[in-house]
Amino acid sequence: MQKIIGKTPFNGTEDQKKRLQEAIEKHKSDPGALMPILHKAQEIYGYLPIEVQSIIAEGLELSLEDVYKVTTFYSQFSLAPKGKYEISICLGTACYVKGSGEIADKISSILGIKPEECTEDGKFSLTACRCIGACGLAPVITINKDVYGRLTPDDIEGILAKYA
């Protein structure tokens, strides 16, 4: 899968860096430490810009390439910042059969972004995910921690308006 790399300049804080370095120290000697540290880093920064990957590479005494090839492999590691409101649309089979494709099209046309992109004002980002397991509510979207189910394309405008 093609990864989108964020263009916004990196603005990590000293506090974030300190927390990341603590996580690196804590897990450094565990076998297979890279993945847990990347998860932690994404939790701290919200995404994994190249600057963060460099800190991790240095801390684990790996080359930046070793880190980069892992971050670009897994769909959950994001190289671009997420929006303030992260919309996840479930494109699992159960949701797809029940019309989540049309829901995705509707969100894209309202916000003017495709899956894996973020609106210019940084407010909304859109991710297509594979089955969140709420198949009883199909089709489903989540916006941050809110879950919306049994949707039709007509519901979308009203839902997005709540976050505008």
């Binding site: 089979t93 159960a94 198949c135």
Partner: protein, 623 residues
């Protein structure tokens, strides 16, 4: 740290308490247990707030001693969430809202009068209330792997102990040898529930035979098949059973360390697993010298990061090691050289959930369930165009008709069943003509599908089979790791041809191209992902070839899904000239004056279907 005697004490103390819910001892404690589903499905429909409201009402009425609220795992009927079951009556309240709570507390808990209008209507028969087990959804089910889901509080180790939890581990550590455990699992005939159906006992035997200073027991909880949530439900509803089974596997093969590789998208399951591991360590059930029998075993969690290929065993192992989850050629098999180069066994969650009952009830009990070559039960996640979406567990050999029509309540909105998809992106479609085939590993392979992890998606006449094949190929194109050419390139080319077909620009030769490319991929791809990626194409071609041909020759998509082949038309005899369609058309493609018949300009039409949904006279058809 608890001794075996202390664990037995917990069991003795709580077994009466828990039996209120199992129905064996209904009035002993003069208590009511209110079980509220805290699985992902019901949490999504607000069960957390229901629990808060219940506790608040119960506190206001000062009946905390008489009424206990317990947050459990999934009951299975996700379509009716949030779900609440009240024992000892066994009343099943479905689609509970916050407004219903005061009434249920007042009438049911205080006055002892069941609020019938809020019950799941299939359990109400005139004046009598039927047990949940007698409803069509549950009657044909047999819960082995899911036995504790929806019964116990998954965040409380004592409740697990009260339902015979950790007794199987005690039995193997105190009464049997590793060889005997492996023999028991082999004799039971348990096969891997993650997809392939490899005999579990044989896998353990291979790993046990290899001498090494360190061996590993891994659990595949990276349920990647979109539309499947069996493993998640076990982890959310009964996490201790997986820990217990992994410890038993560790004893059997001589491993002291276990890893659970779980999808990061399953936050509730991850949280409950962490709680369970902490509790088990505190009780001395994980750690050093377990039950003072000289056996050491501990478990760590590793989060996946969204890569379907990591369901493949060698890829999963590489991912735990902290690398790109790319598969490796086998042999060497993980049982010889696996995680960190040491002998490793990897089983999936549902497989593990079957282990403690096999140890406690014996291999004969287990092998008496199911068909000749597929023993035991299988959990399916029913989804798609079906009335009772949810989680079901049935004996192997149950027919598709029983699952879809009887348990699942059939296809909604009066539409007819077209096919069921099993095995996710690696599987295929089962057409209506095989409705009565007993479902087991071998029969499904025979008819061109596979068991997979247990997603079962029902499709009706409005599902286009070419579009479904395309959907799965889009998935595998995304998820192919790119290491081997047949998969990396093959999936892309397959998708290109499918796109041509759905856009109406393919030729009839494209079908034979699809077929030969599928054959090469199956023969040459490195791992299971690439070898099975053509299955959705092959099985839809096998049973729905006429649909492919109609797309190509007649430019028709009978399901009305493929937009490029669609045309919206206004039926002159039904059009009243109300102008509603023209006013709502975003492309300005509809013309016509008031009270005159309207016409759609096909050049301008973007096929969004707004006109069709707005028309009050059913005058607009698509086809």
């Amino acid at each position: 740290m608890k001794s075996l005697d202390e664990l037995h004490d917990i069991y003795d103390k709580l077994k009466n308490y828990i039996s209120i819910r199992t129905g064996n001892n209904s009035s002993a404690l003069n208590q009511r247990h209110v079980l509220v589903c805290g699985g992902t499905g019901c949490t999504s429909s607000n069960s957390e707030k229901i629990i808060q409201a219940l506790n608040r009402e119960i506190a206001i009425n000062k009946i905390e001693k008489e009424v206990k609220v317990i947050k459990t795992g999934c009951f299975g009927l996700c379509a009716l969430g949030p779900i609440m079951i009240v024992y000892p009556e066994g009343c099943f309240y479905s689609m509970v809202t916050l407004e219903d709570i005061p009434e249920i507390v007042q009438k049911h808990f205080l006055q002892g009068k069941v609020v019938k209008k809020l019950l799941y209507q299939e359990t109400v028969d005139g004046d009598t209330i039927k047990s949940l087990q007698s409803t069509p959804f549950y009657a044909k089910q047999q819960r082995v792997a899911l036995r504790n889901c929806g019964v116990i509080d998954p965040e409380c180790i004592d409740e697990y102990i009260a339902v015979n939890g950790y007794k199987a581990l005690e039995k193997v550590l105190t009464q049997t040898s590793p060889d005997q455990v492996i023999k028991l699992v082999s004799d039971a005939g348990l096969r891997g529930r993650g997809g392939g159906g490899f005999p579990t006992g044989f896998k353990w035997k291979l790993a046990a035979a290899n001498q090494a200073d360190q061996k590993y027991v891994c659990c595949n909880a990276d349920e990647g098949d979109p539309g499947a949530f069996m493993d998640r439900s076990v982890l959310e509803g009964d996490p201790h059973t997986v820990l217990e089974a992994m410890a038993i596997a560790g004893f059997a093969i001589g491993a002291s360390k276990g890893y659970i590789y779980i999808r990061a998208e399953y936050p509730i399951a991850v949280k409950r697993l962490k709680i369970a591991i902490d509790q088990a360590r505190e009780y001395g059930i994980l750690g050093k010298n377990i039950f003072k029998k000289g056996f050491n075993f501990d478990i760590d969690i590793r989060l996946g990061a969204g890569a379907f290929v990591c369901g493949e065993e060698t890829a999963l192992i590489t991912s735990i090691e902290g690398h790109r989850g790319e598969p490796k050629p086998r042999p060497p098999y993980p049982a010889v050289k696996g995680l960190f180069g040491k002998p490793t066994i990897l089983n999936n969650v549902e497989t593990y959930a079957n282990i403690p009952p096999i140890i406690l009830n014996g291999s004969e009990w287990f092998s008496s369930i199911g068909t000749e070559k597929s023993k035991g039960t299988k959990v399916f996640a029913l989804g798609g165009k079906i009335n009772h979406t949810g989680l079901v567990e049935v004996p192997m050999g149950t027919t598709l008709r029983e699952i879809v029509d009887e348990i699942g309540g059939g296809v909604p909105n009066g539409k007819s069943f077209k096919a069921a998809q099993t095995g996710g992106p690696s599987g295929g479609c089962i057409p209506a003509s095989y409705f009565d085939i007993p479902i087991d590993y071998d029969n499904l392979i025979e008819i061109g599908s596979m068991m997979g992890s247990g997603g079962l998606i029902v499709m009706d006449e409005s599902t286009c089979m070419v579009d479904i094949a395309k959907f799965f190929l889009e998935f595998t194109v995304d998820e192919s790791c790119g290491k081997c050419t047949p998969c990396r390139e093959g999936t892309k080319r397959l998708l290109e041809i499918l796109n041509k077909i759905t856009e109406g620009i393919a030729t009839i030769e494209d079908i034979s191209k699809l077929e030969s490319l599928c054959k090469y991929m199956k023969q040459t791809a490195l791992c299971g992902l690439g070898q099975t990626a053509p299955n959705p194409v092959l099985s839809t071609l096998r049973y729905f070839r006429d649909e492919y041909e109609a797309h190509i020759k007649d430019h028709k998509c009978s399901a009305g899904v493929c937009k490029a082949l669609l045309q919206y038309k206004i039926l002159p005899e039904k059009c009243k000239g109300c102008t509603l369609c023209a006013r709502n058309c975003p492309a300005g493609a509809i013309s016509g004056k008031v009270k005159e018949i309207h016409i759609i300009d096909q050049q301008k039409c973007i096929k969004c279907g707004v006109c069709c949904s707005k028309c009050k006279f059913n005058a607009i058809i698509k086809g």
